[in-house]
């Protein structure tokens, strides 16, 4: 069926994106460890506390937190309640699952993609500059729309798969 072919292709693309995202998270997390360890070392051993490590660590945490959240949607790691949904018959369950994914898409699009983009634009317009590293804060907020797009992509793929799989009787 061509519809199933489309779903398979979508899944293939999403798998690729997931793998790239995974490596990016490993990198961000690794840099965060090195960064804060360096801060401890510079404060205690070198007696010359580094000024930018603390700020960089905070920015990295925002990126790991928001971008990792998108990864969590792909791996279904987020906490939720399936108590009611799991009691439904399979047809109704599919409908409710699709509805739940749709709520996620609406949230990701409105708050993270649109709200996030407006926030990034605002930060660039006000020319907000970070105190220690002197980078534009808009770049930090960029993670919100980026993650929003990924969450939308992952959720749409979940919806497509739910539709493509035939309902069990």
């Amino acid at each position: 069926m061509p519809a199933n072919g489309f779903v398979a292709l979508l899944t293939l693309v999403v798998d690729r994106v997931e793998r790239t995202l995974a490596w990016l998270l490993v990198l961000l997390m690794g840099v965060m460890v090195v960064d804060v360890t360096w801060q401890v070392v510079s404060r205690f051993l070198l007696r010359a506390p580094s000024s930018f490590t603390e700020e960089l660590a905070g920015f990295l945490l925002i990126w790991v937190g928001i971008l990792g959240a998108a990864y969590g949607f792909r791996t279904r790691a987020h906490l939720g309640i399936d108590l009611l949904v799991s009691r439904l018959r399979s047809g109704a369950r599919r409908a409710v699952t699709i509805l739940a994914h749709t709520v996620v898409v609406l949230f990701a699009l409105s708050v993270m993609v649109i709200g996030g983009t407006l926030l990034v634009r605002l930060a660039f317009q006000l020319d907000q500059i970070s105190a220690a590293m002197g980078i534009r804060v808009g770049f930090v907020y960029l993670v919100l729309p980026l993650s929003g797009v990924l969450i939308t992509l992952f959720s749409i793929e979940s919806i497509a798969r739910a539709i493509a799989v035939p309902v069990e009787r």
Binding site: L25, G58, L61, I66, A69, T75, I81, V103
Partner: protein, 431 residues
């Protein structure tokens, strides 16, 4: 309650019911409430801004590092050494393995700062071991879960860091120190219940290892136990901040796991970093949307209204404390501990201050209360992991948990109504 708050609660519950993840349910409820309060463009921008700034805190950085060191400890062979040591200490009593399990889960929850990590690391070994000796599986799962929850109150503890943030800067070091007495009390109470049940069911004595072997087990556990000494000693003595201590914990556990114990290969590290990033992100995403929700609640004046309402009901401190704790117990059953702390601290801390309850006492009482919720259905992160590890159902485990719930609530009441249990130790150390 006015219309926006009703809308918020209804949206949140509707989202939860259809299976939307908790973090998104919180975020969606916030966004919908903002939309009816302020115009569209500032509403979505403000929600986005609150989410980003919610995570932007140096204190929160301790959380990913404690998660990472917890994972390194779990996979790095330290869990086994702690279990062996616990066996030496308490294995000789009737139902010995139950004691060992509680103690090992406490050690582990303490060292890693994560109850979920403790449940899976200790439970993965202890539950099959207990089953081999004839313990009912659900009983073993219940013991592991409640023991691990105790580790959340005994420092270092990520949730106390979250509370420090939510309360507007109660000292993390003071909170950590305050957790010791209630946490150890809870652990002892759990062992007591475990022992009574074990005795009634005639569960076997595990057999204490001989003196020489016991001493060897102690020596082997020293490097793992030393981690607590370095982290907590450093924080209490004021050498490290909690974040710096957490980074030291990562480096220390990395050295133990990779070159010393050789249980983790360098090629395993990317996967460990990824899993830690994922766990971190789940917590951070909850913090992000909960911060936005707390903001809109205070914008709607809810904390003040609710405080006035509660204080108008009765001026009995005992009754109000009871009401608040009942509410937390109910909320804790279906809400994860992180959003609960972030949302309810700004609402109820002012009430607590009105009643002359210190921020320190309130925080420990709240976290202890919500820990019980982590082991109760329908939602409980420890419950889910515990049942998964023990390959059993939530319903069967819940029945086995009943006596443990009872004693946890009892300890909670003690902590609520005897403030010195929480406050004496921090005061002694000069916080």
């Amino acid at each position: 309650m006015d219309a926006p708050v009703v809308l918020l609660v209804v949206t949140f519950l509707a989202c939860l019911a259809i299976g939307v993840p908790i973090a998104v349910s919180i975020g969606a409820a916030t966004a919908v409430t903002m939309l009816v309060t302020i115009p569209l463009e500032p509403a979505v921008t403000t929600t986005a801004l609150r989410m980003a700034t919610g995570i932007d805190s140096f204190a929160l950085l301790a959380i990913p590092f404690f998660i990472l060191s917890g994972r390194l400890i779990a996979e790095g062979g330290m869990a086994q050494r702690l279990i062996d040591f616990a066996k030496v200490l308490v294995g000789g009593f009737a139902g010995g393995l139950a004691y060992v399990n509680v103690l090992a889960s406490m050690f582990f929850g303490t060292i890693s700062g994560s109850a979920v990590a403790a449940t899976s690391a200790v439970g993965g070994f202890m539950i099959p071991a207990m089953e081999d000796e004839g313990y009912e599986r659900e009983y073993s799962v219940a013991v592991t879960m409640t023991g691990s929850a105790t580790g959340l109150i005994i420092p270092p503890s990520n949730i106390l860091i979250v509370y420090s943030l939510a309360s507007g800067g109660v000292s993390i070091a003071a909170l950590f120190v305050a957790g010791y007495v209630p946490g150890i009390l809870l652990g002892l109470a759990l062992m007591l219940v475990g022992a009574v049940i074990a005795k009634r069911r005639r569960y076997p004595v595990a057999g204490r290892p001989g003196l020489a072997e016991g001493f060897r087990a102690f020596l082997r556990a020293i490097p793992s136990l030393l981690l607590i000494v370095i982290v907590m000693g450093g924080i209490i003595a004021g050498i490290f901040t909690a974040t710096e201590a957490s980074a030291v914990a990562v480096v220390y556990s990395l050295i133990l796991a990779v070159p010393v114990y050789r249980e983790v290969r360098v090629s395993d590290l990317p996967q460990i970093l990824l899993k830690s990033a994922e766990t971190t992100a789940i917590v951070m995403f909850l913090i992000a949307t909960s911060t936005a929700l707390a903001w809109i609640l205070s914008y709607e004046n809810l904390p003040q209204d609710l405080a006035a309402f509660l204080l108008s009901l009765t001026d009995s401190r005992v009754l109000i404390l009871l009401l608040i704790n009942l509410l937390f117990l109910v909320v804790g059953t279906f809400m994860d501990i992180t959003p609960a702390v972030l949302i309810f601290t700004p609402i109820f801390l002012p009430v607590a201050h009105e009643l002359d309850i210190s921020s320190l006492h309130f925080g420990i009482m709240m976290v202890l209360n919500l820990c019980i919720g982590l082991c109760t259905p329908p939602v409980g992160s420890i419950l889910f992991v515990g049942c998964g590890i023990g390959r059993t159902t939530v319903a069967r485990t819940t029945r086995a948990l009943l006596p443990f719930y009872a004693v946890m609530v009892l300890v909670l009441l003690l902590v609520v109504y005897l403030p010195w249990l929480t406050e004496a130790l921090p005061r002694l150390l000069g916080y």
